[in-house]
Symmetry: C2
Subunit: 358 residues, 2 copies
Amino acid sequence: MLSEFSLIDRYFARRARTNTRRAALGIGDDCALIAPAAGEMLAVSTDMLVEGRHFLPDVDPHALGHKALAVNLSDLAAMGATPLGFTLAFALPKPREDWLEAFSNGLFELADRHGCELIGGDTTAGPLNLCITVFGSVRQDDALRRDAARPGDDVWVSGTPGDARAGLGILRGEWPQVSIDRTDAAHFRRALEYPEPRVALGLALAGIARAALDVSDGLAGDLLHILERSHVNAEIDVDALPLSDTLARLPRALQLQCALAGGDDYELCFTAAQAQRGAVEAAAQQAGVRVTRIGTITAPDTVVACASPGAIETAKAADVAGTHTRREAPAWPAIAWRDASGAPLNLTLQGFDHFHAD
Amino acid sequence: MLSEFSLIDRYFARRARTNTRRAALGIGDDCALIAPAAGEMLAVSTDMLVEGRHFLPDVDPHALGHKALAVNLSDLAAMGATPLGFTLAFALPKPREDWLEAFSNGLFELADRHGCELIGGDTTAGPLNLCITVFGSVRQDDALRRDAARPGDDVWVSGTPGDARAGLGILRGEWPQVSIDRTDAAHFRRALEYPEPRVALGLALAGIARAALDVSDGLAGDLLHILERSHVNAEIDVDALPLSDTLARLPRALQLQCALAGGDDYELCFTAAQAQRGAVEAAAQQAGVRVTRIGTITAPDTVVACASPGAIETAKAADVAGTHTRREAPAWPAIAWRDASGAPLNLTLQGFDHFHAD
C-alpha cells in the first residue's frame, strides 16, 4: 500500500511543493491558505470526472490529466478570472506508475502554462474518480456572469465548436456510413481530448462582454442557461456558425449536430453590446482566439420559438450547479434559429450526450 | 434522467440558494465568488469519501451527510479558521428521493449550525463518491499550522478519542470475545457516525496554541505529522489519555488501540507553551470542549524511541496532502510512550484502519 501510494507523493505532492508561490501554505497542512489580490474575489468551481461517463477506461492518461484541469480552467475563463490554484481529490483503483506519470504530466503541463498551482488534495482507493476544485481571482464588477445579457446584445462564440463532438462520434463508431479520413479523425480526437480553456480570452473580455459561459453541454443548451438567467431570448443565424474546415467536410446535418448539441470543446459563448464589436474583436486578437458573431439577444416577448426548449434541454439540467426549473411559459427561454437570409429554420437537435465533463 | 436529477436540485441547489449570504455569486454560474474578510486568508481543504472505504454501502444517509461535511469542517477547525462555505461534488449510481432527503438533511443541519454555505457543486452518475471542498477565513498569523510545535510545549488533545474506533470495531464484528452492552454499542456507533468538528475550539485556540491538527488517522500517527513538520519529538503519558467512561469499560489493550491508533473522532491534537495552560483551559471552557494535557514536545535528540515510527506509519502517508518521506534517522520523529510514573512503555499498535475519511 505504502509503496504504491508513495508514487502519488512523487508525481503530485513534490511537484506541487516546488511550484508553490501563490498559496501562503500549501500541501501538507490541514488546509491550504490562499487569498485573492486586494479588492478581488476568489472565483471557485468544482468538476468531478467519472470513468465511463466522462472518459473511457482506456483513455490516454496524459490527455485525462489535461482535460480534468482544462474543464475547470474553462469555468474560470467563463468568469473572466485569473487562475491561481486548484485542489485535486481522486480515487484510484490501483496506482500504476506509468499511468500516474502520464496523468500528472498532462495535468501539470496545462497548470504551469496558466500559473495555476496544486495547493491541496486527497487520494483514496476506489473506482477511478477525479474531482478538481479550481480557484481564480476576479474583480467582482468584471466577473462575466450568466445573468447579464440584454436585448440587442450580439451573441458571440469563440473558436470552431463541434470538433470535439465529432471526435466522440468517431470514438463511439456512431457514423459508420460516413467516410472520414485518418487525418480528420485525428484532428477531431485531439479536439475531444485536449480542449484549450479560453483563459486569455475570458480575461480580455472582462469589462467588454456582458454575459458569458463556457460551452460544455453544447451551444444550444448552454446558451439557454444565459437566456434563462438573463430573462431574454435569442435569435441565432445557423449559417454564421464558425466551423473548422475539418468539420465542414462532414454532412451538413452532422455539422449542425456537432456544433450546436455537442459539448466538450469548451469554447466561450458570450454576449456584448453592439457598440463593443470593435472591442470584442480587439480582445480576441489580443488573446489569439477567433470569435464569431452568431446572433442577437432579443426580448422575451419578441421571439417565435422555432425550437422548443424541451428539445434541447440538457441532461444535467438539475445539476447541483444548474439552475434548471420547469418552464411554465414555453416561449421563454427560447432560441429562434435562422439561416443567413433570416428565414426561420426548424432544427431538430438530438439529445445531448453525457460523455463529457459536466 | 431529468426527473431523477431534478431531485438533486430540490435537495441541494434550492436550499443553497435560499441560504446564500457570504458568497457574492453562488450556485448557477460558472464559478462562485467568495472572499475572506479584509486581512484574512481563505483556508481551503478537500476530502473525498468513497463507498466501501470511508463508509459502508448501507450507511445511514443522514449520518453520511453529516460526516462528509464534518471531516472537512474539522480541517478548518484544525487551522483555527471560521467556516464560510463549501462545494459538493458527488457521483451517485441512481438518485433515490428518500436517500437524498436524509443525506441533505444531515449535511445542511451541520452546515447551518456552522454558518457554512453550499456555494457550488457538480453531480454526475457513477459509483457513490462524495467530494467536498470547504472554505474558511483565518488571519494568516493566527493559523494553527503543523510546523509550529517547539520543545517544551505541552501536547493536548480534545474530547475523549477512541470511541469512534470502538464503533467501527463493533460494526465490523472485530471483537466477538468482548461483551459490550447495547447502550455502549450505540454510544460508540454515534461517535463513529456523528463526529463533531471542533470548530469553536479551533477558533478559541487561535493565538494561544502553536501547532494543531485534527485526528483522523489516530492520535499516534497524526501526532507524528506535527513532529515531522516541526522537527521535534514527543513524550506521551499514556495514563493521561482522556477516555470516555464507555471506552474505559473495554479491556485496556482495546482502550489504547482505539484511543491511539483509531481515527474518526476528529478531535484536535495541539501543542501550546506551558505558560499558556490557563489560556488553553479558558479557551476550552469557552468552546465547551474538554481538553487534556497528555505529554510534552521534546527536542529531536533527547528522546529514546519506544515505538518505531514505522510501526505507526499511516497508510495514507503518501496522500497528495501528506508530507510523508522516508526517514533516514530512525530516532526522529518519534514518540516516547510513558506511564503515569514516567516509566517507558513499549506499545505495539496495530496498523491504522483505512475505513475513515482521509
